[in-house]
Each structure stands twice: as C-alpha cells, then as structure tokens.
C-alpha cells in the first residue's frame, strides 16, 4: 500500500481514506505445529488493529477477508471474534454477509469468485475496502461505509495481517 501524508488528502480527486490500524499475528508455519485448530493468530492481531484504530468489531461496516476456501472464511470470522463458535455458517445462510446484510463480507465476491492473484490475493481486499469507503462500488456499494477491514492470510492459517481503513 502506498500512503501519503494526511495533509495531502485535500489534493486528490477522490475521497480521502486513511489506515486507522494494523495488526499481524503468526503462530506457526506448519498446521501440525498450530497451537489450536480453531483459534489462530488472527484473534490477537485483529484485536491489536481494532485497538490501534480505536474501534470495535461492531464499528466495522464491511469486511474483506481472504477466503482461499469456503471453510476458511467461516473459521476465521469466528477466530476473529465477529461470530461465536459455530455461528458463522448459520449467519451466512441467513444472509448476514450480503451487501445489504448485517455484516457485508467480500462485496467483490472474494478470492473464490472475484479471483486470486496468489500471494498478492490480500491486495484485492484492500482495493475493495478503499472503493467501498469512497462510494465507488455501484451495484455492490454498501450504504454509508465509514470503517472497512481488509485481511490477508498466508500458509495454513499461519500468517495473519489486518488493516482497518476509514474515511479521513
């Protein structure tokens, strides 16, 4: 991500957005070395990012979450603390992740539908988060996005990175 000084915000042609908080957490490389098979480095690293941003889970208006496989999304949303254990699947079925839902997730379709660029897959989420904040998403625009979350994942639940972005 390329960032510029805050006082250049007025100079750009588009609405300015800024990173509010970041977090990283990595507990293992190989899955058989993971301290847990249901809780991963994303729990603490999201907590760090939210703390730095001064926002809570509830303040996140849309989340753009690395989803290499369907189950990855559900497992990580629970490990991130957005849903309790076993609750993310029913939430998906109830439509909570839809653009007009309670908690819009991966409005561009995510890696499985939008496409994955391999190691750089997380950057698609950063782009979509910024576009949502700028109101550029057209038919997939979430109403009044103030705070967006982009998250990437590496290895087998090994590496976790978050950036929380908001309007300037």
């Amino acid at each position: 991500m390329v960032v510029s000084a805050r006082d250049t915000a007025r100079d750009g042609p588009k609405r300015a957005v800024e990173p509010l908080g970041t977090g990283e957490g990595h507990t293992h490389e190989h899955i058989f070395c993971a301290p847990s098979l249901v809780d991963f480095g994303c729990r603490q690293s999201l907590s760090d990012a939210l703390g730095q941003a001064g926002v809570t889970h509830r303040d996140v208006d849309c989340a753009h979450v690395y989803r290499c496989f369907t189950s990855t999304l559900l497992i990580t949303l629970e490990s991130m603390g957005f849903y309790g254990r076993g609750e993310a699947g029913p939430a998906a079925l109830a439509g909570e992740f839809a653009i007009s839902g309670r908690f819009p997730v991966n409005t561009n379709g995510g890696l499985l539908s939008h496409g994955s660029s391999g190691a750089a897959g997380g950057m698609f989420h950063v782009v979509e988060a910024v576009r949502q904040l700028r109101g550029e998403c057209g038919p997939r625009q979430v109403r009044d996005v103030q705070v967006a979350l982009a998250r990437t994942l590496g290895g087998i639940f090994s590496g976790h990175c978050f950036v929380i972005i908001g309007r300037c």
Partner: protein
C-alpha cells in the same frame, strides 16, 4: 495402467537426519528439551518453547490418537493418484508431539477423531527411506 511416478523423496539435513535414520530402523524419534523438558516435532535446531539448544532425541512408544483428518479424493500429485481416497491425519503421540501422516490399513470411512492409532513405517517403491505413518491401533 500408467507408470506409477515416484513420490517426492525426503532430503534429510543435519537437524532432521536422526529422525529419518530412525524411521529406517522402525523408530519414531522426536526431540525433548533438556532445559524445559518439553517435547517437539518437527526436528529443529532449538527448542520452540524456551529456545534452548540442548535437545535430546527420544523414541516414541508408537501409541497416539487422531486429532483431525481429511479424506483426499483428488490427489495433488500424479504419484498419489493411485492411493485415492486416502486419509491425511494429524496424530497426537502419547508423548505429546503432533505430526501429519496417512492412516494406512484402514477404510477411510472408518477413521474418527479421537481414534487410537499406532505408528507404522511405510516402504515405498523406488525409495530406501521408510516413512512414518499410522494405522488403527487394533489393526492386526
């Protein structure tokens, strides 16, 4: 029948060599730290718990339990295609370390989380290296 391609060959290094040599002798060797007494797997230069470098090799008794598993129906490599469906499992040895292996000599549909298993050593065509795996503990 198409030619069966050889499966990937292990390349032991100075840290892992005792483990691979042990497998060829029918032993599952793992490290225990002399400073903090914790066990670890895979072999490393230092202790993952306390970063001590005085590590001792021990031989596992062979008993363990399936912690998790999945059944592979679509092989990632041509050399595994003839094995499908096969089980890829995380097994907790009684001594503590967890490792990843196949569950052999077992109908994949019969594998259960929590199932008792026993370490066995697989010989593969074209390779001198025996591979630590598990089979159901009650398999004869």
């Amino acid at each position: 029948m198409a030619d069966v391609q050889a499966k990937p060959e292990r390349v032991p290094d100075s840290v892992s060599r005792p483990y691979w040599d042990g497998a060829n002798q029918g032993q599952f060797r793992f490290q225990r730290c002399r400073a903090c007494d914790q066990a670890q797997f895979h072999p490393r230069f230092a202790c993952v718990h306390c970063q001590g470098i005085e590590l001792q090799w021990q031989v596992a008794g062979g008993g363990g339990r399936v912690a998790s598993f999945s059944v592979v129906h679509r092989a990632p490599l041509a050399s595994f295609a003839g094995d499908t469906p096969y089980v890829l499992a995380l097994v907790d040895l009684d001594e503590g370390p967890r490792f990843m292996c196949n569950v052999l000599n077992c109908d994949p549909a019969a594998v259960r989380i929590g199932m008792r298993a026993r370490v066995c050593f697989e010989s593969r065509p074209g390779s001198a290296q025996r591979i630590p795996q598990v089979e159901p503990a009650d398999h004869e």
